[in-house]
């Protein structure tokens, strides 16, 4: 699944609209920095198998985030290098080998319709929510080819999302759990389940749930909910803005990017930040 994403949509959560935005904001920042784009320029976010793209105008692109086999006119493209694109160039993103989300930044950013201050795609808010065959996605192209200088020395690596340690803060309902459960949650390795998408990542392991449901309360990307069955659900960028399950932990912003790149079957461990 591919969609256009920027930093997200803020100030309208009060109407129930999620933030959306890039799952891995660090990778989005990388592509924009290297191209000399504004920090929040929109990029194409891809998961699983990316699309085949034909460029209609000259531009420059760069990839970051997950590692994938990418071919430009049948020739393999190097990870993290700025690539000059000419009209009619043909790009294929094959299997993503490492990580979950791949970002293609483009000179000046993608030009999808801005809704409530963001170009991020989300069902029911933006005109489109995913790229389908035959779609065209606009980007800025200029008659005179003048580009800001690129960070030619930038080295993009994907090993920054290898650590399995996810930093978390205690959530509002953490203190209602027993010390026994605190220890179990912090010592246990959790497995990323098959249920992962832009809204939430569910973890496989079950822990005993001692808590009653709460009255529906605000939740954020990175909020970890303890469900009645004892499974943990980590809300991601498209997550709903309120929830009725106890909010036991809150993932740190940097760790949320690392977490987003974890795949089904990978293990994570929580590390508690801040005072207890």
């Amino acid at each position: 699944m591919s969609s256009v994403q920027d930093l997200g949509r803020f100030g309208v959560a009060q109407y129930g609209i999620p933030y959306s935005g890039a799952m891995d904001r660090y990778a989005l920042a990388q592509v924009n920095f290297i191209l000399g784009n504004p920090k929040g320029a929109a990029a194409l976010e891809m998961a699983h198998t990316g699309p085949e793209l034909v460029f209609e105008r000259d531009t420059r692109i760069v990839f970051a985030g997950a590692e994938a086999d990418i071919y430009l006119n049948d020739r393999p493209l190097k990870y993290g290098h700025v690539t000059e694109i000419l009209e009619d160039d043909h790009l294929v993103v094959k299997k993503i080998r490492k990580g979950q989300w791949l970002y293609m930044g483009i000179q000046g950013g993608f030009e999808s319709e801005s809704v409530f201050g963001s170009k991020s795609w989300y069902k029911g808010i933006s005109p489109r929510d995913r790229v389908v065959k035959g779609d065209s996605i606009c980007y800025l192209s200029e008659e005179e080819r003048f580009y800001p200088p690129v960070e030619t020395n930038a080295k993009i690596r994907s090993d920054w999302f290898r650590p399995n340690q996810i930093n978390v803060y205690p959530g509002p309902e953490w203190h209602k759990l027993s010390t026994l459960l605190h220890n179990r949650i912090l010592k246990k390795a959790f497995t990323i389940s098959e249920l992962i998408n832009r809204m939430a990542y569910q973890l496989d392991e079950e822990i005993a749930n001692e808590l009653d449901p709460i009255l529906t309360a605000p939740v954020y990307p990175g909020t970890i909910q303890l469900t009645p069955s004892g499974k943990l659900i980590i809300l991601m960028r498209d997550g709903q803005v309120t929830g009725g399950y106890p909010r036991i932990l809150q993932v740190d912003n940097i760790s949320l990017n690392v977490l987003s790149q974890k795949r089904t079957g990978e293990k994570i461990k929580f590390s508690l930040l801040g005072e207890m």
Partner: protein, 236 residues
């Protein structure tokens, strides 16, 4: 005011009221929100509400001591209504069984006749506490206890936009097509969430929602007007 707080980290904390759904708590939440927006606008990025919480994302960093002092300050301040006027919105609902697919089932569960369930549902106004779950989904307080209904064990794959439903201690209208575990009792022809409008939802937090019953013919007439942009939602 009976409030406490929880600080998640230096840029996120919430003020907590006792665990109940009540209009007096809602009124206090709105007063605190107005106070914070007036006094601390520069430091606050976003304020969001739940039934008994008011959560804040901050631009600045705050310590636990800052949170404690802020809560003390709120408690000792003479908060006023800020002259906030609430409206009552009149929302048409067709309770015909072609839309209210779970009416018969609810009638069996509660041993209340279908027409009585419908009457109980529209006879009292509801209060909008906040939006959540889906864009434009209103969390309404005030459902009659007799209609409290446990959610379905297996959620429906698709509940169509406009469906009026009951789940747990709440009732609501699905603003968009969605899976869901609530019991469908009717459908409203009006659009409660329109992305082309700013704000996209007509009702403000604290406003009242009153449902009034319409028949199938009226439903389709209003639906036509809504599609043509000629229907104006009524409020007092």
């Amino acid at each position: 005011m009976e409030i406490s707080y929880f600080r998640t980290h230096s840029k996120l904390f919430e003020i907590i009221w006792p665990k109940e759904i009540s209009q007096s708590i809602l009124k206090e939440q709105l007063m605190v929100k107005a106070y914070l927006e007036k006094e601390y606008a520069d430091g606050i990025k976003e304020i969001r509400m739940g039934f008994n919480t008011l959560s804040m994302r901050l631009v600045i960093d705050i310590s636990d001591k800052d949170c404690f002092e802020l809560v003390e300050e709120i408690k000792s301040s003479q908060l006023t209504d800020f002259g906030y006027q609430t409206k009552t919105w009149e929302i048409p609902v067709c309770y015909d069984e072609i839309f209210g697919k779970d009416l018969n089932n609810l009638s069996k569960i509660h041993k209340i006749a279908v027409e009585d369930i419908i009457h109980i549902h529209y006879s009292k106004p509801y209060t909008l506490h906040f939006y959540g779950f889906l864009p434009g989904f209103m969390y309404l307080g005030g459902l009659d206890e007799r209609l409290f209904s446990p959610r379905k064990e297996k959620p429906e794959r698709l509940i169509p936009a406009g469906t009026v439903a009951i789940g747990g201690q709440q009732t609501g209208i699905y603003p968009s097509d969605s899976p869901g575990g609530w019991h469908a009792i009717g459908k409203s022809p009006i659009k409660l969430f329109d992305i082309r409008l700013d704000p996209p939802c007509p009702a403000n937090i604290g406003d009242k929602i009153r449902f009034f019953p319409i028949n199938k013919e009226e439903f389709y007439q209003i639906q036509k007007k809504v599609l043509g942009g000629q229907y104006r939602l009524k409020h007092d």
